[in-house]
Subunit: 369 residues, 2 copies
């Protein structure tokens, strides 16, 4: 074992302990579907296990989701003294991104967001600059995602949320209209192109690992990385908001066959689709300096880095080969770099990253518990 | 000052510190409404500040909400050693109730719920009985509310959520269909009847006060209250789920003119409606023994008790006088005791509780920040 290596097991998130709850919850949740039928509606059953829950409303489909930020706000809190800024404008964007980027994967246009900001005691609300940054960033992210901010909760939960911390989450509803926009993947097939949309940094996954590394670095978050910036500041580059891109792709007539938001599990998320298909990547997007630094300093090899971090790939869109160039061009017109990175092939479920000689087998991704 | 008195100021929830954030957030949220218009929809502007956000979808209205449980799970955690039960089936019902009981106040029928269960570290998931109770209770509460459990998040947030604790919240979407069911209150008028639906105990508001009292009692949560039960166990009686009642009222043809979910601010919530109207209560519902005990032991006078706790009134429905009896009867057929408790009158905005000689003036309720 490399002494310098930091892994997720060592850094405190033990998915094997959470999975039994997820399994139980998903089985129980499935049993409640008849309530929707009793109300005159129906769920799209295949949406269970996908990123958003989809309901057939008759003329159109409704999609709903709740997502949390995770622990990234702790990085912002730690950077306050070093940068003199609260960074909660970025934190707000990250939180919104967690919800809307997942919601759009089913083909939905997000419409409205609710905020969930639970503070660990009333003292959190004394910092006016941080509050103003949070509100300003939330509003800006709503505008950039084309959603209305419908409301939310701002409880003070001493004894539940850690003193000085805030638990941030967002829920979102959207519409799949026309219904043919639904992208649960029944159209994905061998021969399709993999188009990768660039990430803006670490986004909001891999943060526990990134925080553990900061604890070990002599200069912590103030450590300068490849591009001369502070490690902590680079970590706080906000998650890219992809709804404007997905809307532009639909508007441009791109036939999106499937989408995957690259979050936890890194590039293993490329094989999120349930079918047995091989995803062959032949071209890599550039790696953001902060992820290059993190992977190197944490002692991660390519398999570990690409299997847990986004490594420059924030979102994947699967389209017919003939439309790959149009998809790339459309995304870039919206300000998000895109790459025709590979193709879908017949074969066992796996992701082959050719330039790195890395293969992830299907069983290494168990997001469909 | 009575030495025995516990108040909200003393018990740690200082709303005056949270309100500036709410104000800022509500102003910023309002500015994002044009995004909905750009997508071809429109918000019901009057729903901002109400309990749920309402969107005009053309044929019908969509309502959405996110609500948190608060700190009631801490009571369950403390009772584990005393009762030998996890009580998370009740906690699950409380969390669902926070969302669906608010959602129905706008006239919506709830359709789907998402769970947000954020644990303070992976160790939370080691307690299999607690997990099973949470899942079972959540499913049962979904069935009792007529909603489909669409999905959710179960993150492990060490450093954000307190070790050993869980931050529970729920988001919910529903439909107002036909649109005439919308009950934002434009129909409420002097002469209408106040129908109170019974609570099942403390519900999920006033918990910080209840926990402070437990700290002060020599036997804590094990203290026997009036009916011989343990204080902690009685606190954990779950929140009543009102959606089945509101659906039954609509089905029975009751013209509901306004609804108010009695949560924080106790009976001051009876004047939640924006208009200047007087609410005269002439008949009190029975006080659950746990609230009688809490009010007495915390040294609260009637004004303080009714101004912060539900004191037996879980939900209020405002209907034409001629329909009050039908409303009461319909609710009781659904298993929820109901009381024709008073009437709406022309006059200054205030709640007059005649049997107690208590009046709450309008300015004592500032939920519309």
């Amino acid at each position: 074992m490399n002494e310098r290596k930091l892994t997720y097991g060592a850094s405190g998130v033990d998915y094997s302990r959470i999975d039994p709850l997820k399994l139980m919850a998903q089985a129980a949740a499935r049993d409640t579907a008849p309530n929707l039928r009793a109300a005159g509606y129906a769920e799209i059953e295949e949406s269970r296990g996908e990123s958003a829950y989809v309901i057939d409303m008759g003329d159109f489909l409704l999609a709903a989701i709740t997502e949390c930020l995770g622990t990234k706000a702790l990085v912002a809190d730690a950077m306050r003294a070093l940068s003199g800024r609260s960074h909660y404008d970025s934190i707000a964007q990250d939180t919104i991104a967690m919800a809307v980027n997942d919601l759009v994967t089913v083909g939905a246009r997000p419409l409205a967001v609710h905020a969930y900001w639970a503070a660990g005691g009333s003292s959190w609300f004394d910092d006016e600059e941080r509050m103003a940054d949070l509100v300003r960033g939330w509003k800006a992210a709503c505008n950039a995602s084309g959603v209305s901010w419908g409301g939310g909760e701002t409880p003070s939960l001493s004894g539940v949320v850690c003193e000085g911390a805030m638990d941030l989450a967002a829920s979102c509803v959207g519409v799949v209209r026309p219904k043919e926009r639904l992208t649960l993947g029944e159209r994905l097939r061998a021969g399709d192109a993999i188009v990768i949309l660039a990430s803006g940094g670490i986004h909001a996954n891999g943060i526990t690992l990134a925080r553990k590394l900061a604890e070990r670095l002599p200069q912590g978050y103030a450590t300068r990385i490849g591009d001369g910036r502070m490690y902590g500041e680079a970590l706080l580059d906000p998650t890219v908001l992809y709804p404007k891109v997905t809307e532009a792709l639909f508007a441009a007539g791109v036939e999106i066959r499937y989408m995957s938001n690259i979050t936890g599990h890194g590039w293993r998320k490329l094989m999120r689709h349930p079918a047995a298909l091989t995803y062959r990547v032949t071209r890599l997007p550039p790696v953001p300096p902060v992820l290059e630094f993190l992977a190197r300093e944490a002692g991660l090899d390519a398999r570990e880095a690409y299997g847990s971090l986004n490594m420059g790939a924030g979102f994947a869109v699967f389209v017919p080969q003939a439309q790959a160039a149009l998809a790339v061009e459309t995304s870039e017109r919206e300000g998000v770099r895109a790459f025709h990175a590979g193709r879908v092939e017949a074969g066992d479920k796996r992701v082959i990253i050719e330039p790195l000689g890395v293969t992830f087998e299907g069983e290494s991704l168990a997001v469909r518990l």
